[in-house]
């Protein structure tokens, strides 16, 4: 049996899955204390099943997101070396940020050696502040991690934990590398404490099966391996929803996934069962990071959005949420009140909802039913407009080859999946507004927990080989090997695959056949003067988000 748990802003969803079926679905209010919430949710489930029958557990938590948004980050020092470009001081983050001498160029050649005195001076300034966590980052370290290694060597006895920039991601983006490395260091202890406490709770409840955490890219990582990059577990909620949609519906064709919540609606696109990934990293609070994530967009309209009449005498929905719906004691009418007034939802005080609709409709001379319907129609219209803009933006992403310009593959959703509380009551309105078939899957109310439960392991790597410099580098896997002039694309692909498979097993994938996708494959002849000086090979490969085998076999049956 698989236990899936998703901690949301207001509700924590728990599911138990057996033989590819959701057998138990539960909701627990999310409290301030994350561990208490987890304990309570787990206990609820264990009332029903025997812990020994659980053979896999997966969690999507708000730990990292909360720590970042509530500014509970631990003091962390940064040692950064840059080179030509933007003033590195403008990337300052944390209470003790130091730019040191040293420079690598865009190909990883050392333009200026890392100066030891400069690094040691920065280290002692950080120590003076009583800080024990450090991030070490150099510009272009993903081309050559040597300076980060060197700095780490010099200072490792002085600090409790050192996070290195090149391990974050092979993607080029120095400011984001600095931020992400900072977050990894600053979350290190918070994450370790959480992991220990969770392990303790699970032990108490006699739950011993493998434990996974969900990441914003829709993949999982085994709990014990998550400590190296705690920031990469932040903001997994939207990904849980998308993976849930994928699990509960086959998502054939081009599917728009809409998760209508109380305050916001999350949207994403799944292409023939493969969710789209964001080209840049996720943004958490004020931090732009290199953390891989699914391409999702959150818009400010949900079931609890405020409905008002504006100066032009038309209804306005959102973007604010004033509180719970009026029928549940809230201060303002909402789309949920419209559903209650129409008798679609049987919660709260229906009279209040009806009166609210009456008041809103009065100005326009509409009766209660017409007002409520109009509000739902408008809600659906706003969501549809926003989805259209979202899809338009995906299609406007730049491409850099003739091949891609001429191919000009446009994404056009052929159907939509609607999830979240108001889904069944909005689906017809959304179908009319979007102009494509819309459906609500079974168990849509616990889709996030299902998504967490059945998402498989993901991991990604970036390979760059430069035969003129004589190195192949895979920063995420800490690999920097010498190569000869004969190193070819096939050699690079082979090395990349081996490394990725090894990495996948480490982070919790089961041995066997891996679904490896090469997302980028480029090879350039390097010409100096008029003759060939080498080859520059670039690969990006990944285990893309998908569902674990146990769940997929259900589909085959």
């Amino acid at each position: 049996m698989i236990l899936g748990l998703d901690v949301g802003g207001t509700q924590t969803d728990t599911v138990l899955i057996d033989g590819g079926q959701v057998v138990v679905a539960n909701k627990t209010p999310t409290s301030q204390d994350l561990l208490e919430t987890l304990r309570e949710a787990i206990e609820k489930v264990l009332d029903i099943v025997d812990p020994a029958s659980v053979d896999r557990m997966a969690f999507s938590t708000t730990l990292a997101t909360n720590a970042i948004v509530q500014d509970d980050l631990e003091d962390t020092g940064m040692i950064v070396s840059a080179g030509p470009g933007i003033d590195p001081q403008s990337h300052e983050v944390g209470p003790s940020y130091h730019v040191v001498d040293g420079c690598l160029d865009h190909q990883g050649f050392e333009a200026l050696p890392l100066r030891k005195e400069s690094v040691m001076h920065a280290a002692s300034r950080i120590r003076e502040k009583g800080i024990s966590l450090v991030g070490v980052v150099s510009k272009f370290s993903v081309r050559n991690p040597a300076h980060e290694f060197q700095a780490t060597n010099w200072i490792e006895d002085l600090f409790a934990h050192i996070a290195q920039g090149h391990k974050v991601s092979g993607t080029l983006n120095f400011p984001r590398r600095i931020t992400t490395t900072y977050l990894n260091a600053a979350l290190h202890n918070v994450h370790a404490n959480f992991t220990d406490a969770l392990t303790q709770i699970l032990k108490e409840k006699s739950l011993f099966s493998p434990k996974y955490l969900l990441k914003p890219d829709g993949g999982t990582i085994v709990l014990d391996e998550s400590a190296t990059s705690p920031a990469s577990m932040a903001q997994s909620g939207p990904a849980a929803g998308v993976m849930g949609a994928l699990a509960l519906d086959s998502c054939a064709g081009t599917t728009l996934v809409l998760d209508v919540g109380g305050t916001t609606t999350d949207m994403s696109v799944v292409l023939d069962g493969a969710p789209l990934l964001s080209p840049s990293g996720i943004r958490i609070g004020p931090f732009q990071t290199l953390i891989r994530s699914l391409l999702t967009h959150s818009m400010g309209i949900g079931g609890d959005s405020e409905v008002r009449v504006d100066k032009e005498n038309t209804f306005r929905i959102g973007p604010f949420r004033k509180g719970t719906p009026a029928a549940l004691g809230g201060p303002a009418p909402t789309p949920t009140d419209a559903m209650i007034a129409l008798g679609l939802l049987k919660i709260g005080n229906r009279n209040t909802a009806v009166n609210q609709m009456k008041d809103l409709g009065k100005i326009m001379g509409l009766d209660t039913v017409s007002t409520a319907r109009k509000i739902l129609k408008l809600t659906a219209k706003s969501i549809a407009d926003s989805s259209e803009a979202f899809v338009h933006e995906i299609n406007a992403q730049p491409v850099y080859t003739i091949h891609e310009v001429l191919q000009d593959q446009k994404i056009e959703p052929t159907s939509a999946i609607i999830m979240g509380g108001p889904a069944p009551h909005l689906v017809d309105y959304l179908e009319a507004a979007l102009g494509i078939p819309c459906r609500v899957p079974d168990h849509f109310e616990v889709a996030n927990a299902v998504g967490a439960a059945v998402a498989r392991v993901t991991c990604a790597l970036t390979l760059q080989a430069d035969t003129s410099r004589g190195f192949v580098v895979i920063p995420e896997a800490n690999i920097q090997n010498r190569i000869g002039s004969g190193f070819k694309l096939e050699d690079a692909i082979l090395l990349g695959k081996e490394t990725l498979e090894k990495r996948a097993v480490t982070v919790g994938a089961l041995r066997g056949k891996f679904d490896i996708t090469v997302t980028e494959k480029q090879i350039f002849n390097m010409i100096r003067g008029y003759s060939m000086a080498g080859r520059n090979i670039r690969l990006k490969m990944s285990l893309t988000p998908g569902l674990i085998q146990e769940w997929r076999t259900r589909d085959d049956a």
Partner: protein, 436 residues
């Protein structure tokens, strides 16, 4: 925490990672690879106010507004040329619609050696991407007066040719003296056709011109010329081969110098032209230009080898630059002749030989233009190429007066006697392009 641009700036990248003139040619797949790396590593695309746009291909009809392609567009262009020109159109739209204050099209292949009549590739260029863009802007947004400042190390002879007869386009080229570098032209006496005297300005600079010299001519000549002309739009043909690391030129400019030049010029649209120090110059120059356009601090943009390899400008070079500047100032700013030396209605003729170095084509051109004070004047060009083409092209300019229009129609009719392999009529006001 997020950096913010002082000016909203649009970027259009088209590195054409799958196109080269030939495998080892300077104009090859690798050319913008390291520039893209540097731009991405800097995180410039995350800067608030810097907006990246997706390219689209230009159409043949866009090209016909600037060129006479012989025998036709398909024969002398590839997809890459269309996309490179299209990238400029995207940049133009972004600026003209007010989405950004300025834009930079980092596209390849380049275009400033491509002349009005195109038989093939000259100096790595097939179609003039700036000219295609300018004519698109004129057509779509009703702009009339445009200034082009070409800062490529090579004389922008193609752009000069296209706008030679156009009094509404000020073309200024700053380049290494033609006696020492391809294409060998670009002297101050080349100053525009009979109806457009003084709207072509060439500023040849001696080899070894440094930061000081470039900024000197910008301040003493270029900025006053722009003040005098009062363009509605300023375009920078941003070639980057004046760099001290460039392998095929002899100048001594730097990334920071390019950034300063750009900050001074404040072009509405910059278009990448040449520049073949793909590893040691382009990444830094492009980052410098983008940051300058976006109003960011460029004081940290410095080549890793600047301190060891940059050579300050010698006093001898400084003196030469001052002398040439004085002559140009005299001719174009102080003693500017306003009246044409020809009588209204005169037909002025010239004959030239043009060589296409990349494609090894020779062309002989015979031009006739009607001297006119009311419009840019109707133009007839007979062009004969070593590929066996013998064509007549008649161009009736935007805002053509009646006598010029009538003359143009007459020339075109006369051409229909079977003497030519192809006949072309470009009538900009009536949006007609005919090919027979």
């Amino acid at each position: 925490m997020t950096l913010k641009a002082g000016r909203r700036t649009g970027l259009v990248f088209f590195p054409a990672f799958d196109w080269a003139i030939s495998p080892t040619h300077p104009e090859r797949e690798e050319r913008l690879l390291y520039t893209m790396d540097q731009v991405q590593e800097e995180g410039l695309l995350d800067v608030k106010g810097i907006v990246e746009y997706k390219v689209r291909p230009a159409t043949y009809s866009d090209i016909q507004k600037a060129h006479i392609c012989v025998p036709d567009e398909a024969a002398v262009t590839t997809e890459s040329h269309l996309i490179s020109a299209g990238g400029c159109l995207v940049a133009a739209d972004a600026v003209m619609k007010g989405e950004v204050e300025s834009a930079f099209a980092l596209v390849r292949p380049p275009g400033h050696h491509a002349m009005k009549v195109v038989h093939g590739n000259r100096g790595f260029c097939n179609i003039n991407i700036e000219a295609v863009m300018i004519e698109y802007i004129r057509e779509k947004y009703g702009i009339r007066k445009v200034a082009i400042v070409d800062t490529d190390c090579h004389h922008g002879d193609g752009t000069q040719d296209i706008y030679w007869h156009d009094p509404n386009t000020l073309f200024i080229s700053i380049h290494q003296d033609g006696r020492t570098l391809y294409p060998g032209s670009g002297f101050p006496h080349e100053d525009g056709g009979p109806n457009a005297k003084g709207t072509t300005v060439n500023i040849p600079l001696p080899p070894e011109t440094g930061e000081k010299g470039f900024l000197y001519v910008m301040e003493r000549l270029v900025m006053p010329l722009l003040d005098q002309f009062k363009p509605e739009l300023i375009i920078n043909s941003a070639g980057q081969d004046n760099h001290f690391n460039d392998p095929i030129t002899n100048m001594n400019f730097s990334a920071r110098g390019y950034a300063q030049l750009n900050a001074l010029l404040k072009p509405d649209i910059a278009v990448l032209e040449g520049g073949y120090a793909v590893e040691d110059a382009l990444p830094y120059v492009n980052v410098g230009i983008i940051m300058a356009m976006a109003g960011m601090d460029t004081s940290f943009v410095k080549e890793p080898n600047y301190d060891t390899d940059y050579r300050p400008q010698s006093p001898l070079v400084t003196r030469k630059i001052e002398q040439i500047s004085e002559k140009i100032e005299e001719k174009f700013l102080k003693k500017r002749k306003k009246n044409s030396e020809f009588t209204e209605g005169d037909i002025v003729e010239r004959t030239r030989d043009i060589f296409y170095d990349t494609d090894n084509i020779s062309e002989r051109q015979h031009e006739k233009i009607r001297s006119c004070s009311r419009c840019a004047g109707v133009l007839s060009t007979v062009s004969t190429s070593s590929l066996g083409q013998h064509i007549l092209a008649v161009q009736i300019p935007k805002g053509a007066c009646k006598p010029c229009r009538d003359q143009g129609i007459e020339w075109f009719r006369e051409g229909g006697n079977g003497a030519y392999t192809h006949l072309y009529l470009q009538d900009r006001d009536r949006e007609i392009f005919e090919r027979i």
